[in-house]
C-alpha cells in the first residue's frame, strides 16, 4: 500500500540537501560572531568616568602621545596618566567644568580615577610597547586614528590572527622610527614618496623590507614562536 504522498519525494530530498547547507551556515555564523565587535569590542567605545576625547587633545591641541603615555618607549606598559597629568592643565583651564569634576575630586581626595581598559589583551598574552615602538610600529598601526576618536575604542580585534598578520609580514607595516608617533602618517606611494637615508621610497614593501634590515628585526620564525607572546 502507498504510505506516503507523492510530494514526500521532493520533501525528503530537499531536507537532505538542506541539512548540508544549514550546518555550513551554522559554522559560518559561529566564525562571524567570534570576529564580531560583540566579542572583540572593536570599534565599541566603553563607558568611562570622564568622556576624555583623544580627538580634542591630540588633533585639536596637538599634544604628543608621550605626554600622557610616558613609559611607552621604555616599558612594556605605555602607562595611563596619573590625575596629576590632567591637572597640569586643568588646574588652569576649564577649572569648573562639570565634566571634569571626577578628575578634580580624584586630585583632592587622592583616590584614583577608575577607567575601563580599552585595549585589553587576555592575561596569558604578553605584549611589550617599547619594543614595537623601537622597531618602527606606529601608534595608529594598532590603535587606529586615535586623533579622530572623540571617545576611545579599540581599533583592532586584538585577536591572535590579527597579531600574526603583522608578525608574519612586518614589512607591510613598518615605518621610520621618527614617524612612529605621527598620527597622520601615510605609507609611501608614487604620489607621496618617502625619503630615508638618502633613498626615495614609493611603495611600502620596499621601505618595509629595508626597515626590517635596518632595525634588525628577528626572523619571522623567531617572532612567531609561541614564547614570543605566551609565557
Amino acid at each position: 500500500m502507498q504510505i506516503f504522498h507523492r510530494s514526500t519525494n521532493t520533501i525528503s530530498r530537499a531536507t537532505i540537501y538542506g541539512a548540508v547547507f544549514v550546518v555550513a551556515a551554522l559554522f559560518w555564523a559561529a566564525a562571524e560572531i567570534q570576529r564580531s565587535p560583540y566579542v572583540t569590542y572593536a570599534g565599541v567605545a566603553r563607558p568611562q568616568p570622564v568622556p576624555f576625547s583623544h580627538q580634542h587633545h591630540v588633533a585639536g591641541l596637538g599634544i604628543d602621545c608621550r605626554y600622557c603615555h610616558t613609559s611607552v618607549e621604555t616599558s612594556s606598559f605605555a602607562g595611563i596618566p596619573p590625575t596629576k597629568t590632567c591637572m597640569n592643565c586643568h588646574s588652569q583651564i576649564w577649572t569648573n567644568a562639570q565634566l571634569l569634576e571626577p578628575v578634580r575630586e580624584s586630585f583632592r581626595s587622592g583616590k584614583s580615577l577608575v577607567w575601563n581598559r580599552v585595549n585589553d589583551l587576555p592575561d596569558f598574552v604578553y605584549f611589550n610597547h617599547s619594543i614595537h615602538i623601537n622597531k618602527g610600529v606606529g601608534c595608529n598601526t594598532c590603535h587606529g586614528p586615535v586623533d579622530r576618536m572623540p571617545l576611545m575604542y579599540n581599533y583592532a580585534s586584538l585577536q591572535m590572527e590579527w597579531c600574526l598578520e603583522c608578525h608574519r609580514k612586518p614589512e607591510k607595516h613598518l615605518r621610520p622610527r621618527d614617524q612612529v608617533f605621527n598620527m597622520r602618517y601615510e605609507q609611501p606611494s608614487s604620489g607621496k614618496p618617502l625619503a630615508m637615508d638618502g633613498k626615495e621610497y614609493t611603495d611600502q614593501i620596499a621601505l618595509g623590507t629595508d626597515l626590517v634590515k635596518k632595525y634588525k628585526l628577528r626572523t619571522v620564525t623567531d617572532i612567531t614562536s609561541c614564547s614570543t607572546c605566551h609565557r
Binding site: 500500500m1 502507498q2 504510505i3 507523492r6 514526500t8
Partner: protein, 178 residues
C-alpha cells in the same frame, strides 16, 4: 516519463526462478522498459531486464582520491606553509607522520561517496512510488517476485501487454495506476 493513466502492468510470481524466466521472455518479446522486484538480490536479474552500466565504482574511486588528496595537502599546508613550527626537531614536512591521516581521509571519503553515490543513482530516497499502489506489492519485501512493463514502453498496450504477461503464468496480474 510522460503521464498516462497507468504506470505499467505488473505480474506477480512466487519464485525467483519463474521471475527470472519471465524476465528473459519479456525481453525476448521485445519489451525494453521493464523492471523486476525481489525480496533479495538475484544474480543475473539485472542483466535479464537489460541493465548493464553501473557507475558506483567510479564514484567511489573519485571520492577516495579526493579524500586522500585533501588529507595530505591539508596536513602539508598546515605544518609546512601556513604556520611552520619546530616540533621536537622534526622537519616541517614530516611526510611519514602524515600517512595515517591521509589514509583515513581516503577511506572516509570513499565510504561516504559509495553510500551517497548508490542512493543518488538509485534515485533514493523515494518514499512515494507508483508500484506501492498495488496492494500485493507489499509482499515484494517478503516472499513474492514482481515483473513490471512500464506504460512508457514503445511496445506497450494495455491489452496486449496484459495478455502477454498472463502467458508467463504469473500468480496475479495488476495494473499499476500512476
Amino acid at each position: 516519463m510522460k503521464r498516462t493513466g497507468t504506470y505499467g502492468i505488473m505480474a506477480e510470481f512466487d519464485s525467483a526462478t519463474s521471475l527470472m524466466g519471465a524476465a528473459h521472455r519479456t525481453r525476448e518479446a521485445g519489451y525494453i522498459k521493464l523492471d523486476a522486484y525481489s525480496p533479495f538480490p538475484i544474480e543475473g536479474l539485472a542483466e535479464a531486464i537489460g541493465f548493464h552500466s553501473n557507475a558506483v565504482p567510479l564514484v567511489v574511486l573519485i571520492g577516495a582520491l579526493i579524500g586522500g588528496l585533501t588529507g595530505y595537502l591539508m596536513q602539508y599546508w598546515i605544518s609546512a606553509i601556513t604556520y611552520p613550527i619546530n616540533v621536537g626537531g622534526k622537519p616541517y614536512h614530516s611526510w611519514p607522520a602524515f600517512i595515517v591521516v591521509t589514509f583515513e581521509m581516503t577511506i572516509l571519503f570513499g565510504g561516504i561517496s559509495a553510500v551517497l553515490g548508490m542512493l543518488a543513482l538509485n534515485g533514493l530516497p523515494m518514499p512515494y512510488h507508483p508500484v506501492f499502489n498495488v496492494p500485493r506489492f507489499a509482499f515484494a519485501t517478503k516472499d513474492r517476485f514482481f515483473l513490471i512493463v512500464f506504460s512508457s514502453d514503445p511496445k506497450y498496450s494495455p491489452t496486449e501487454t496484459r495478455r502477454f504477461l498472463e502467458s508467463l503464468g504469473p500468480r496475479s496480474i495488476s495494473e499499476v495506476p500512476d
